[in-house]
Amino acid sequence: MGIKVDFRKRFYKNNERKKGKDPSFTVDVNFEAGNELAVLFGQSGSGKTTTLRCIAGLEKPSGGKITVNGTVYFDCHKAIDLPPQKRSLGYVFQNYALFPHMDVKKNITYGLKGMTDQEKENRMRQMLHLLHIEGLEDYYPSQLSGGQKQRVALARALAPGPDILLLDEPFSALDMIVRMKLRERIKLIQKELNIPVLFITHNPVEAFTLGDKIIVFHEGKVQQTGTPEEVFYQPKNRHVAELVGVNNIFDDAVFASHIDKDRTLFKAGELEIITRHIEIKTDKRISWGIRPENITLLNSDKDNRELYENHFSGKVISIVNKGASKLIAVRSNKERRVLISEVSNKAYEELNLFHGCNCTFSFASRDVLIFV
């Protein structure tokens, strides 16, 4: 059971469809999710919301097939296109979309059909309990806080017992503490109801902490599907790498040689970069990258720590305080290439670095990402 999605939706500028021109944008997605929390992750405009709306039947794909729990929602070849009313799903919008003229009770029971008033009341109580919002039933949406509104929106979506829950950036308008609490709640709810939950976010932290599975979107295409660990530590290409916070990406690595059975040597401009063993067929330039937290900084004068395989001397050119850590830009002396290193505050204090000081930066071969 779960959801299976494989469809295309083409967008055209004004009248270009009639003129037979190519679409200006195409959303072309293909993924599956079981009874798990799957995060659709990507920048705005990458096709995440279009995907969700097509699943919900609010937009019509140009072709393909969508199946949820064995029910075909959309099939281009068989001319099946269930209206949203016939698709058993809960949809939660970023801005809650609560009915402003109805109180919480009416909002939650709005999707309940064919029930007696007592049954509706019981179902509503269940939902209030599930979302921890007992006591709010007589309030109107305008009297609620953002977090409460989103809980009511979730309760309303879940009340009819949908086969799948679709959440479009539901927490992005909330403050951090409320957001963290709601993330926990949504995880518990997913486990308890055991249905597929699709969750859109552009926030890497949210994607990582929430997802059983992450589906990475870029320019309308699914780039990579995998566990958070796979996506964050083994991004498949440079688009995914950029999204998961690999700040240092360069497009100039050329295969040089295999050092031994574990390590491979690349040349990036004048720099020599040692990586784990990589089978490579092309002699063209390829992209390589390194996460900022994987670059270790050493104070050239005092530090006697052991260096990783890749190490270069350089200068500190800027220090940005991120709160819990510092982002330090270093420029290599050879070739004057700028890399960003993320250093914890504690390590930063011990390093005694300052703007313009000499330093050495190093990183391990196993941490170098190569995008073939």
């Binding site: 609010l58 009313q85 799903l89 919008f93 801005n95 979309a97 009915f99 003229h101 979506a157």
Partner: protein
Amino acid sequence: MLEQIWFPLYITLKISLVSSLIVAILGTLIAYILARKEFMGKWLVDVLVTLPMVLPPTVTGYMLVVLLGKNGILGKVLFDLTGIRLLFTWQAAVIAAFVVSLPLMVKTTTAAIEAVDRELEYVAYTLGRSELETAFFITLPLAKKGILAGIVLSFARAVGEFGATLMVAGNIPGRTNTMAISIYSAFQGGNSELANTLVIILVLMSLISMAITTRLVNSWKI
């Protein structure tokens, strides 16, 4: 004298209420379609509905006479089928009032419906509610201020209607002499006492209806 006051008041209210009722129902339907549907020739519907707002009422009235007269396209069919002659009746005045006040209703209500967040409708659809249910329980209740404003404007326009009404219904005492027309003929005939009385009644009526509407709208939270 009393008959000269009461009848115009009665016939004006009757014409305006009936016309406003039809305008409210049809106008809301047309406004919903214009606000939420895409179809071929939508612009034409929009133009045709709006046209009476920019045309001189006498032109609208003339076109109605051509259309509804005994030899007109619609008038002939009606006469052949039922023997009813529409022109110079209070029903003709209702049609004139309807045509000139419809644009006010449609314009105001379309704007109000367009202002309702579509996501609310989408949520209702995903909760299993049909488009009709959603329109009646979500969209229209949320657009009710605009709808009421449209009805009030249309009613006021119908009460004050002169040109088109004169063309299609004439000024037949005891049958189609509305307030606006009676004021004009009293003024023309030098009966300033009657003209003054009718003017005062009309102004008072407008003030009271505006006051009631404003209070009603202010009492609505949404």
